[in-house]
């Protein structure tokens, strides 16, 4: 005959095993990333800086230099991406001096050689861009001049949209060619 206290102890043991099992099955699965012991992506070297952005004002048909605060990495490619984001943020606010489509952003930035910059934009940048000779020209000049002012050593800039070449930005301004920053600098003076 099993003593009564043994029966109670075994019963409690079985109950606790059952409860632990239930709680384990209900626990959310941990993502592999959170269990990784290896180092995460290295922190980007850089600092908060004042950047010069050339802002387009549609109503005045003009471009004006403004100062903005941005985290600017040391790497030239990352720096170029942040410079473009700084000017885009001016256009994506409301009210905007030069409205662009929601979701307009930089996807990627890379170099051909040491002086040619290729800026790959999101599809929303072109698809949501207002159509018109003036507005498209203001966008391109504003972006290229802002890049030129904040990233040293760019002599040519080319824009892609979602990794592909496009004939025009929104039906007018050329997106197929490589823009020379020096020539765009002269063109910008017409609007300043």
């Amino acid at each position: 005959m099993i003593p009564r206290h043994f029966q109670i102890a075994i019963g409690l043991l079985l109950l606790s095993i059952l409860l632990i099992g239930i709680s384990l099955t209900r626990m959310p699965e941990q993502s592999p990333a959170s269990t990784q012991l290896g180092p995460a992506a290295p922190p980007v070297a850089g600092k908060q800086e004042q950047v010069r952005v050339l802002v387009a004002y549609d109503y005045d048909q003009a471009l004006r230099w403004r100062d903005a605060e941005a985290f600017m990495p040391e790497d030239r490619g990352l720096r170029a991406g942040e410079a473009v984001r700084s000017i885009l943020s001016q256009y994506l606010q409301s009210p905007s001096p030069h409205p662009l489509g929601k979701g307009a952003d930089v996807k990627d930035v890379y170099w051909i050689g040491n002086d040619t910059l290729v800026v790959d934009m999101t599809p929303q940048f072109a698809d949501g861009h207002p159509s018109g000779v003036l507005v498209e020209q203001l966008t391109l000049v504003s972006l290229i001049e802002t890049l030129n002012a904040n990233v040293p050593g760019i002599s040519k800039v080319k824009f892609l949209v979602n990794g592909q070449e496009r004939e025009t930005l929104a039906g007018h301004a050329d997106l197929m060619s490589f823009y020379q920053t020096a020539a765009i600098h002269d063109l910008a003076k017409e609007f300043e």
Binding site: S131, M176, Y179
Partner: protein, 273 residues
């Protein structure tokens, strides 16, 4: 018997060699196209664009454009007849901007272009429309048609919602290209040969618009297909308003100013009067 067999084998071997060599020569030209693509990636000349569409497999409405000839080096002929090529912007699948809430830019530009043709003809200036219906034409195709037709002036018409007033454009050529040799000129910078005359036309048209007490500015713009044309070329864009009746009045007045401006500089454009 031994020699007879050889005689049968030799033609067969020759045919076999041809079969190997011909496709190989095809691959060689594909290699040249790839080299042109690489040149384009470094801001190479326009003939490189033959490869661009191929690389991306983008649909094209027309074959690749032929690099235009420099007008100064073109074979000497008698002066061509003076006529104006009017290009109503957009068309077909390309609606352009949406004006006054619901009107497509392509319809506004077509009506405006017909008005301009009428007003030019009233002044004794022959004119043709690049499209006279709701037709899809790529920008490269527009440039090809115009360069082949050799008009004395090309006028592109556009309408857009923002800001106010009228903008007259001549081409800006801020594009990086390699220097081309001989009679070929790069596609991106084809307008170089006529840029000064284009600016004269733009100034004359802007002055005529100003005479109507309208706000007008003239700019240089990297606008296609202006940069791809070898003849004097301008574009005119007006900021549409919300009332359709106002827009129609504006189109008619602007057509009159453009026609007057072109008639004024007709003598400077090197065509038969």
């Amino acid at each position: 018997m031994h020699w007879n067999k050889r005689a049968e084998i030799l033609p067969a071997a020759l045919l076999l060699c041809l079969g190997v060599v011909l496709p190989w020569s095809k691959y060689s030209s594909a290699g040249a196209i790839a080299a042109a693509a690489s040149s384009a990636a470094h801001g190479g000349p326009r003939h490189a664009r033959f490869s661009r569409a191929g690389v991306e497999e983008q649909p094209r409405s027309s074959p690749s454009p032929t690099p235009p000839l420099l007008s100064a080096e073109a074979p000497k002929r008698a002066l061509p007849e003076f006529f104006v090529m009017i290009d109503p912007g957009h068309g077909g699948n390309d609606k352009g901007a949406l004006l006054a809430g619901a009107i497509a830019e392509k319809d506004v530009t077509l009506a405006w272009a017909r008005d301009l043709r009428r007003q030019l003809e009233e002044r004794g200036v022959p004119a043709r429309l690049l499209r006279d219906s709701d037709q899809t034409l790529s920008l490269d195709r527009r440039a090809e048609i115009t360069n082949e037709a050799r008009p004395s002036v090309y006028v592109a018409l556009h309408a857009a919602p923002p800001a106010g007033g009228v903008r007259v454009y001549a081409a800006a050529l801020p594009f990086a290209t390699e220097t081309t040799k001989g009679r070929l000129v790069s596609w991106e910078n084809a307008q170089t040969v006529s840029l000064e005359r284009s600016r004269s036309v733009a100034r004359a048209v802007a002055n005529e618009i100003r005479r109507q007490d309208r706000r007008v500015s003239w700019f240089a713009a990297p606008l296609r297909p202006l940069n791809n044309l070898v003849i004097p070329a301008i574009a005119v864009e007006f900021a549409s308003v919300s009332r359709q009746s106002e827009n129609q009045k504006m189109e008619t007045a602007l057509a009159s100013a453009i026609a007057a401006g072109i008639a004024q500089v007709r003598g400077q454009l090197g065509a038969r009067p």
